[in-house]
Amino acid sequence: MRVVIADDETLLREGLARLLADAGLDVVGKAGTAEELMRRVELTRPDVAIVDIRMPPTHTDEGLVAAQEIRRSHPSVGVLVLSHYVESRYAMRLLEEHPERSGYLLKERVSDLAVLVDALERIADGECVLDPTIVSRLVRRPREESPLDELTEREREVLALIAEGHSNDGICKQLFLSPKTVETHVRHILLKLGIGETHEYHRRVLAVLAYLRG
């Protein structure tokens, strides 16, 4: 897999590049600013661009803006935004517009190679990826009377995995369940939450996230 890495912190950028190279990925470009990132993407057309959310000059959301721009102008290039922000709103800005081939992980995941590589592969496959910490915040947030209370423990697990962007196959692997069982769980969950049956994968992710955030 070919990736481009954008982070203004040299140490992080180089470290991450080495880690990914060791894991067998092909790091085809590195960038310290959003502009440089756009140039690298333009030149190398990677499978995924890994982008830090905070970049010069204001260090707020330049990375996110650049990621959106990449999704807009290069539909074949996936993006993975690394962020300090655990609030779902930043992630939703990215996912709502282009759920396919987009991912949003908390920055501390960089040292968790398995999670990182898994996320990159899923993004390259066209899935969308949302950090488990952000999802678990959404699932666990205090609510008044809610249909979520009626879900079984297993159903809640499945719900969280749907929100993280996993496909049914992915959920099967994660929970060691048969495809049939997963399908049943998914149908039950959507029914209980009153989310209309939808087989389209991305629409399902967004509907669940919208439900959890609402």
């Binding site: 992080l12 470290g15 991450l16 707020t60 922000y85 779902s88 709103r89 501390e108 040292s111 947030r141």
Partner: protein, 574 residues
């Protein structure tokens, strides 16, 4: 008393001069303007007596001003051209008429331009007037009189010219002609000055200036039609111009009388002021009252602060005196209590200013003190706002430093550990691996804790995305359900967003059950309402401090079911 005696004496002299002049004019109507008809006789007397009367009355009212004497003198001078009449019979009177027959226009112009204070407005006015006096009194008066012999010029029955030095008929004629040309110039220049002054003058003053300007234009016209002859004849056109001058002079007098009537009305308004002030007007009300009394809707009333002298309005807000308006200080014990910015000439009547000041003394002092207190409060509020803002800015900086500095380092460190682990694993040196994994876990926990700490210091989402995003994020992490009724999507100034957020965050911090949040933009304010079960635990003082710094308000409304609605109103430009 003596002033009255003098005035009555001069008035009697004026009556006599008028009647005498009319007699002379009637004796031989061929030489003047006034003798040809009853109407012109009436015009002669009306204009002359009006000027003399108004001049004397002005002098009695305001002896320090040169205006009254100037106007009275102009009244006498108005009669003099008629004295160039052979029928006058008296050599001194005839000579006087000869020497001063063009004295009236400069005197009227002087009086009108100096109305009512007696002082001219500018050097230009003084300069043009000097030219006019020279032209009217010397070039058209005394100088030609020295060389003009009426008998030699064909006026057999004329009395002797007492000023005659030697008969130089040609020189006299040249002088007269030059005087006419000059007269056309200065009369027009003076009327122009009067018009310029008029544009900036108060209403009563304006009518006097307008009438004066009209008179001077008519004088200029008389000169213009006589340029070739070198003397003003009494043809039909000249007669009409003279009649017009008489009417303009009467109008000058009427304008002055009108200003007295206004002043009287203003005085009675001062009495009304006393009554109205007895009912103590609200802050700023004094301006309304005064503006009504002096008849200037744009009147500005400002108070100088004791310490700095800076001007503030009745609410303590800084004001600047508008350019191009006259200002009058209302003094008390030698110190200005208030400053009025008004139309120019409006408060020329010193007596009126004094009356107003003393009538409104208490109210002025009261409003000034109020303004002073308000100004101090405003200063205090501003400094409180600065302190709060400085605190917020500091927290924001700290949050950013933690994110961009410390947290970034920790992430970098965990990355390094992860690389080290790979290397060790590759090198077959497996003993240290478990410790390394433990260190990585520790490090990850530290990173999470640091993130939460930074977020607790200041939510970056508030600065980046605004109130709605920040409250939604708060709802994700709060310990209790937060039901959001409405949130404004628009952005507000940072201090307002921070204050609004703090109200919700503070309520969420102490909440033990569901919060209901509604933030709405109302005209001129952002209103945040948080309904909670735990209103009693709220640190009201801290929130009030924060809101007060923005001139906002905190209201706690208790509902029947024992819940409390915390209502914060934050004024802002909508």
């Amino acid at each position: 008393m003596r002033r009255w005696t003098i005035a009555v004496g001069v008035a009697a002299l004026g009556v006599a001069a008028g009647l005498f002049t009319l007699g002379v004019a009637r004796d031989d109507p061929g030489y003047g303007f006034a003798g040809s008809s009853d109407a012109s006789g009436a015009a002669l007397l009306a204009a002359g007596w009006a000027l003399i009367g108004c001049g004397l009355a002005s002098w009695v009212r305001r002896p320090a001003s040169a205006f009254g004497p100037l106007l009275a003198a102009a009244g006498f001078a108005w009669f003099l051209p008629e004295w160039n009449n052979p029928a006058i019979g008296s050599a001194p009177a005839f000579t006087l008429g000869l020497a001063l027959y063009a004295a009236c226009p400069p005197l009227v112009a002087h009086a009108v331009l100096a109305y009512p204070g007696g002082r001219l407005g500018s050097r230009i006015e003084a300069g043009v007037l000097a030219v006019a006096y020279t032209g009217g009194l010397l070039v058209l008066g005394v100088l030609p009189a020295l060389v003009f012999d009426p008998q030699a010029e064909g006026c057999g029955q004329c009395p002797a010219n007492l000023l005659l030095v030697s008969d130089q008929g040609g020189v006299a004629e040249d002088l007269y002609r030059a005087g006419m040309y000059a007269g056309l110039g200065w009369a027009l220049a003076l009327s122009l000055l009067a018009v310029v002054k008029l544009t900036r003058a108060s209403r009563p003053r304006r009518s006097v200036l307008a009438a004066g300007a009209a008179y001077l234009v008519l004088v200029a016209a008389s000169f213009a039609v006589s340029l070739d002859r070198g003397f003003v004849s009494n043809g039909t056109l000249e007669r009409r111009l003279w009649l017009g001058q008489a009417v303009a002079l009467v109008a000058v007098a009427l304008g002055i009388v009108w200003s007295w009537v206004r002043a009287r009305r203003a005085r009675s308004a001062v009495a009304r002021l006393v009554v109205e002030l007895a009912q103590s007007p609200p802050p700023g009300g004094l301006r309304e009252v005064l503006s009504g009394i002096v008849g200037d809707p744009e009147l500005l009333l400002a108070y100088p602060l004791r310490e700095t002298g800076n001007l503030v309005d009745a609410h303590g807000r800084p004001v600047e005196l508008p350019a191009g308006r006259e200002t009058t200080s209302l003094m008390r014990d030698g110190r200005p209590v208030a400053v009025l910015a008004h139309k120019s000439g409006l408060l020329d009547d010193e007596q009126l200013v004094e009356d107003v000041t003393s009538a409104a003394r208490l109210a002025l002092e009261n409003e000034r003190l109020q303004a002073e207190i308000q100004a101090r409060l405003e200063e205090l509020r501003a400094s409180r706002a600065r302190i709060v803002e400085a605190g917020d800015a500091e927290r924001k900086r700290l949050e950013r430093d933690l994110h961009d500095g410390a947290q970034q380092r920790l992430v970098g460190l965990s990355l390094s550990l992860r690389l080290l682990r790979s290397q060790l694993a590759d090198g077959g040196d497996g003993e240290a691996l478990p410790q390394l994994a433990a260190a990585e876990t520790e490090l990850r926990n530290a990173t999470v804790e640091l993130r939460e700490l930074a977020h607790g210091i200041f939510p970056a989402v508030l600065a980046d995305e605004g109130l709605a995003a920040a409250v939604e994020a708060l709802a994700e992490e709060a310990r209790v359900p937060i039901r959001i009724r409405s949130l404004p999507e628009r952005r507000y100034d940072a201090p307002i967003e921070t204050a609004a957020y703090t109200v919700v965050a503070e309520a969420a911090r102490i909440a033990t059950s569901t919060l209901v949040v509604a933030a709405k933009a109302s005209p001129g304010a952002l209103v945040v309402e948080v309904e909670t079960q735990d209103g009693d635990a709220l640190d009201v003082a801290a929130l009030e401090d924060r809101l007060g710094a923005l001139d906002g308000r905190l209201v706690l409304v208790r509902t029947d079911n024992g819940r409390v609605t915390i209502r914060a109103e934050l004024p802002c430009a909508s």
